[in-house]
Symmetry: D3
Subunit: 239 residues, 6 copies
């Protein structure tokens, strides 16, 4: 039995608090169980040098963890003087995932900067970041629409993410930290609201995995993402 009596394909309780940070153009505190991430979106009326005068915008993401967010306090990356490979990998993933549903031409020559900062970690920080960042992005875009800086939304579809794994031979969904650490296979799936695949990242930590296991994890993930997208819609409906 999983912690909290979860069934293998059951997602942890997910909560999103919008307008969490007053200075950001969009912001949300998202929780997947005990994992908590502050996601913000900031608009900058400028594009990076490689896109100047190309008639399009950009979206990029950064990711960080508070030193005390993890089980054992980890060293502050600002103090170490560099971001770890894991951090860079995750922030590249978040950026790609959101760009997959944004029409950068419609955004105009501006950049949306996503920040995902983990306050408390218990597995699935990158998937919670993507799901929460979408809502923050949505609110920032709404602000551009309200200010009539753009005429139509550049957002083409929802995007959300979930993890899956194979634990003692059984495929499970939305791993917490303990499951993640002892899991043979670990997978992150990013999908759109239309159920298109954006990212599939499966890794065998110990034993290789089979096509059947891959298929089972993908099936579960699809159902999980459907539920997350529904929750995003509900959240965005409320004031």
């Amino acid at each position: 039995m999983r912690n909290g009596n979860r069934k293998p394909d059951q997602v942890r309780p997910v909560a999103m608090t919008r307008h969490y940070i007053k200075h950001a153009d969009g912001s949300v505190l998202i929780a997947y169980g005990d994992t908590q991430v502050i996601c913000t979106a900031s608009i900058k009326e400028q594009v990076p040098p490689f896109l100047r005068d190309k008639g399009q915008g950009w979206l990029t993401a950064e990711y960080g963890m508070l030193p005390c967010s993890t089980n054992e306090r980890m060293q502050r990356e600002a103090a170490r003087g560099k971001q770890s490979g894991r951090t860079m990998e995750i922030q590249r993933l978040i950026g790609r995932a959101l760009r997959a549903v944004v029409d950068l031409k419609k955004l105009g020559e501006r950049t949306i900067q996503i920040d995902c900062d983990v306050i408390q970690a218990d597995g699935g920080t990158r998937t919670a970041s993507i799901t929460g960042a979408f809502v923050a992005l949505h609110d920032a875009v709404q602000k551009l629409l309200n200010q009539q800086l753009i005429g139509t939304t550049p957002i083409r579809d929802h995007v959300a993410a979930i993890s899956a794994g194979v634990y003692q031979g059984v495929p499970i969904l939305d791993l917490d930290y303990q499951e993640d650490s002892s899991c043979g296979t670990d997978m992150n799936v990013v999908m759109t609201g239309e159920m298109g695949l954006v990212e599939v990242q499966g890794t065998a930590e110990g034993q290789p995995f089979s096509r059947q296991e891959l298929d089972a994890m993908l099936d579960m993930s699809q159902r999980g993402i459907q539920a997350l997208v529904a929750l995003q819609k509900e959240t965005l409906m409320s004031t």
Copy 2:
């Protein structure tokens, strides 16, 4: 008139939420008005090299701001690859302030690591950090006492901090961001529960200030810190 109809010597509403982060040995979310800081204390059964085998402990602090905590998003220090002079100055201040009330010999050969991470900034982030970090420190020390790793508390007294300034010739207490930016003189005061001075840092941003103004700011700060210490006691009393 100040924002929210505050009187010159009135502190903003202060709130402290204990046990905010589950992994830390002590943690609190502190708010001074719209300024919000997560303060944590982590115990490490080790001292830095310069204190090895000296029969005493150590306490040190780190400080950070989420990129979106400020009015305009600031660059992430981990991405820049170094901490700013301001960050280093503040984390040195927090460490000194707390060490002033800790008997490092009674702590034993272990380190208490304080982390203060600003979630939302509106002036006074360093003073809120000190006041909140004291509570997190207290809870971490309580854990050591509960585990009978130490016999008596190494904490000698409370410590708390407040800012003061001279705004258009009038001394005011606990400046918000807007007041801080337009203030002629800016001061941070750290005091113990016994009303002993731990730090006095006054800076003329524009015009030099007089001894009378200094005295007025110190008087106000003393009354403010009395109130903050009372609040710390009340918070620590509750479960």
Copy 3:
């Protein structure tokens, strides 16, 4: 039609030159078409701190590109003072892929350091790195066996990698640089000789991809990896 009249599921000519660098414990120059990578394996009689006295070994990998290996000369990472996110992501992938087929306990308390340095890049540098590094690893392990430092091989199976993509709606295998740049979906697959999955990394660069497209890419990749493993065996048979 693809460059060089390749069919959609055809791998570029692959060549491996063993014993390419005289100082390394194992080394190979591998070519996937115009992509050329020097892969070496070095034995160090030491493990990293987190594994000390745990009765097991370690395998880690680093990756680099010569500044002139790419179409437009890229900045030297040693001169920039840091490795890019892409570099870190790739070297983490190479390390995980090889560890999946190594029994670290049988390796004993030593580290095998893999280095993959791209001499010339034309797409698929990370997949060529994995396939070539396996051969270098094999030769380093053979040296340990010859010196009777270990009694049985810690290598459990072959491992090799290939890329796949969807180009103008058609799934294709082993993308060259030009295909990679214009491809809607890009995938890297790592599998063992027993056809177990080790890594599946699929990314939608533009349009999301469907489960059918994912399946087609996985089927192709499996056949490609079968051929690569056969080639590894042949190479290791020769003197």
Copy 4:
């Protein structure tokens, strides 16, 4: 009794050698007893980006110590690859102190760069730096006046600095290294020629200090700074 039979409120012998470095626009070697600092001022016909086209100038400061200036050789910051928190704190202090007496509008769109490099350290390096830097600044401004690049001096007043402390219950002025290391309270005071306060930084190293002790230290510092300003005037009078 203090070293050299100094009375509690007695400043060490202070010496200033003007025009010490031939390439600088203003330069002085200042000694507070055995503490020796080379202070220079360099004019750059440019302002930092955040001040461009605002019709005003800027003044900034950097501080360093020769590795052998201290009792035990310290590591060279250029070799370590970063400046310490202490260095940054001091150079920020020097810059603020001098800007307090400079009318940046009258300076025009140029920057005065102050460098304070400690040749030999025996306590009070930051206070000697401020007092000496004022003289270097004065000579650089005189050069601008002589070249008719500005019409009237942007310097509004003198500025000088001194340290004070409480040593075994007795307030003392201008601490040497030995006193500074064993002092319960340590204070740095920066004042203008008109006796306006620019910076007050008091720190309890061990015991908190009282308002009476603070007042005694401030009184002493004021008399010390009066003497230092008189010496600056005398130095600037001579050719």
Copy 5:
């Protein structure tokens, strides 16, 4: 007797493979015995800031070693985050050596970037780099001439380099790694095709050396460089 029965003034077998890297504007793989270096030249239609609008070009060089090129694997400089003093010294030397035979005015406002990357090291990597880089430079310049971007060649003469030393009292030429490590005196000589001296760098590792020894090493080096220049000419003659 030297390795491979070499006579004291005998150069190791030298081989140059042109057009080694397809993306570079000029490239060569050069071998001095077991020392192998990839040298490339890249044209950039831009000059560094300090040369902007001065009607001349620039040539600069970078040098690196693959981690496994040496006897014991060395740490990757990109991973360490900085280039060693030795690396910087060598790349400055390569740049100066080549600039000595290039008329930067005739090059026009563009930069030629030389990269020398050591694949396998066995002594003499800096001298092989210079000799090989000249050929890569020549091919890049030929490309500019073919594209009619310049009318006449900016290359004034050949340039090549060789090492010499005093080993057990006997002057020897073109030291391999073992000789280099045990040599009393080590010298690098760079000369033009016209036998003009460009660089003479002699260092006593143990005993100082005499003028006679210096002269003997210079005489040998001159003959060695004559042979290297002849080889460069032959290489450039072939297609």
Copy 6:
């Protein structure tokens, strides 16, 4: 005619002030004309890791320039976060030059750390550094002898350095900054008191130089170094 009516083979006035910095084990302020360098030697009872338990000592050197020592203020290396290639090259040279006259076995398991910090630069900073550092080294060694930490001096001979060049076809000695900048060939020569060569570094900045020019510069340098060694002896004789 040269500045100050110097003849081509005339050294600038050289001055050495011993015991310049009170904390160092040996220290000297050396001037070659307007070039002024503080040279110190510090004893550390420890050797670097690669020499541990080998029964010998070590000597190493660091070099720096004050930002205002040069004609135009240069950026502080500590602020830039790294030492330039030039700095590293010079400090490696100083270390090698002094090690050439020190018997590291006789030094015992300790390190002598040399620091050369340029206060004012006018050409020849590296040669002045070597000549001055020898005197600082001598005083540090004398301290070890006085404290009976070693029985006999590890210093085998004097060492000193001078620059030479070819200026408008004429060989000249000890170049000042202006000569150095406009010189066709630039050479640094390090010799022992016994007139053994330790380093010869000649560089053609523009035109290559001939063997005759090399010989003329070496002859001049030998006479210059003879004079410098005589001056070192005289300085060390005085109290």
